[in-house]
């Protein structure tokens, strides 16, 4: 046996494979070769391990088993926690992308919502300057916010609407819609914080902007489902001394006792302003709670002298938003009762959150 052959025998030492002659040859070589001796001494740990019959049988069983194929190895890899977590994460991300891509297709077209709310256009616009587009507003959005004059004239010529108008939600519940609403809010919001001195001007601008809300709400509605945050209708005092809901298109006469009823479906801020040719007068401002019902005015009825006037309802879902901006401008600071009703989450009014999206509804009242 050549020295090279003898060195190859080392593999048989730990397993006890060597015959007597092979062992003698290996050990004799190890006594002359330090490297081989060291390897044999190191092999002792393995030999000791394999000397355990139970473990030896276990290894034999392990080696007798077929090596798993490609599918088996892939399945084994997938059973580990990290690949499972990766696969789950990828699936969730894919699902999110699919949901986000499909969401806009389910929203109604903007024109339908605009047609539901012509009341805004039937009254003369407030004496305010046209709102310049904010610096951060993208050109496309700015163009969208300025309807063609012909289209606006057409809206003004439309017949008077029914007072009982369903108002689309400015904000939707779904996250995707909320995201779009947030984007819209960013597009409408000023690019830089407003200085305290300019805050009043910003509020006035916001109030003027509120008059132009249908366009915005149309855009919002095109990006979100039209869920009404509140329902409202007019009630008239009958001969029997009770108020009943007025039918659509009812002609009012001077002296009719009429009041407005608002039933909230969602929480938010609501203010009601009486508008006539002489100006505006605040009637009501409160924090809406879901399911609450409000009668405006709480006692008595709306002014009933002959002439044309309107009620402007400004709703904002934000704690401090366009509605509150209007109400604060008109009424001053909220009283303590409202603050208490608003709860601990009420945020201080700042220039940055004044621009929350709002919904306005104008209800024309024509007393003959």
């Amino acid at each position: 046996m050549t020295p090279a052959q003898v060195e190859k025998l080392i593999g048989g030492y730990a397993t006890g494979t060597l015959t007597g002659e092979e062992r003698r040859a290996l050990f004799a070589a190890a006594l002359d070769n330090q490297e081989l001796f060291d390897a044999l001494a190191d092999e002792e740990a393995l030999r000791e391990l394999l000397a355990d019959p139970a473990y030896r049988q276990r290894l034999i069983r392990l080696l007798a088993r077929e090596k798993p194929g490609l599918a088996g190895r892939l399945a084994g890899w997938l059973r580990r926690p990290v690949p499972l977590a990766l696969a789950g994460g990828l699936a969730a991300a894919g699902l999110t992308v699919v949901v986000l891509l499909r969401e806009p297709a389910t929203t109604p077209p903007a024109v339908q919502v605009a047609a539901q709310r012509p009341a805004e256009q039937s009254l003369p616009a407030p004496p305010s300057q046209p709102l310049p587009a904010p610096a951060s507003q993208p050109p496309a959005a700015a163009a969208e916010d300025k309807p063609a004059p012909a289209a606006k004239a057409k809206l003004v010529k439309e017949p008077p609407p029914t007072p009982d108008v369903t108002v689309p939600a400015a904000l939707a519940e779904k996250p995707a819609e909320k995201k779009e609403a947030d984007e819209l809010r960013k597009a409408v919001a000023p690019a830089t914080p407003v200085a305290p001195a300019a805050e009043q001007a910003a509020l006035r601008q916001e109030a003027a902007e509120v008059a132009d809300v249908p366009r915005r709400t149309s855009r919002l509605a095109s990006a979100s489902a039209p869920v009404a945050p509140f329902r409202h209708y007019l009630e008239r005092l009958g001969e029997d001394g009770t108020y009943t809901q007025m039918a659509t298109g009812t002609q009012l006469r001077a002296g009719d006792a009429v009041r407005l009823v608002v039933e909230a479906a969602e929480s938010g801020h609501l203010s009601v302003v009486l508008r006539n040719r002489g100006g505006e007068r605040p009637l009501f401002a409160t924090v809406l709670a879901p399911g609450s019902r409000h009668t405006i005015p709480a006692d008595g009825s709306l002014p009933s002298e002959a002439g044309e006037r309107s009620l402007r309802l400004v709703y904002s879902r934000m704690r401090i938003g366009a509605a509150e901006a209007v109400s604060m401008q008109l009424f001053g600071r909220r009283d303590e009762r409202e603050k208490a009703a608003a709860g601990p989450a009420a945020a201080p009014m700042t220039a940055s959150n004044v621009t929350a999206p709002a919904v306005t509804v104008d209800i024309p009242l024509a007393y003959k």
Binding site: G12, T15, T17, F37, E44, E48, I60, L63
Partner: protein, 165 residues
């Protein structure tokens, strides 16, 4: 080769081996301890094929004990004598843990080996000699089996991270 010459050669090899593993200072003592055990307890064992495995086994025990003692004596981690627990004559947890770890590594490495190596190793574990393995595997000569086995051992050692321990 008679026992005396075998022991003399063994001493030289053990000193060199121990010097490379635990240092020259301890190598002489370790070799002396191994030979002392062989002389006292296995004085009747003369054949080289029996004496050598005994020497390897005793050397391993001596080195393990030396490492344990060195760790216990280390100045950096000296403790009061009353804090030193009584020695357990059985297998210590470290050795047990090391053996378990080695088993796991060995199984993992074997699972990754090529089919021929797995078959060869299995036949060896079943107690077959290289001659029998040659017949079972249909190799042309026993040298082929030696070569295969040598390569498989190197591969296994490589999969184990270069050391059996």
């Amino acid at each position: 080769m008679d026992r005396e010459r075998i022991l003399a050669a063994l001493r030289e090899r053990i000193v060199a081996y121990a010097a490379s593993r635990v240092g020259r200072d301890q190598a002489e003592d370790l070799a002396q301890e191994v030979l002392l055990v062989l002389e006292r307890k296995y004085a009747e064992v003369a054949p080289m094929e029996e004496l050598m495995p005994l020497a390897f086994q005793i050397l391993r025990f001596q080195m393990t004990g030396w490492r344990r003692k060195a760790a216990r004596r280390g100045e950096y981690n000296q403790v009061a004598v009353q804090d030193v627990p009584l020695a357990d004559l059985g297998e210590d947890p470290e050795t047990r843990a090391g053996r378990i770890e080695m088993r796991e590594r060995l199984e993992a490495a074997m699972a990754k080996m090529e089919d021929r190596c797995r078959e060869l190793f299995r036949l060896k574990l079943e107690g077959n000699s290289f001659g029998e393995i040659q017949e079972r595997m249909g190799a042309g000569s026993i040298n082929t089996i030696y070569t295969w086995d040598s390569r498989c051992r190197r591969r296994l050692l490589e999969l184990m991270g270069g050391s059996w321990r």
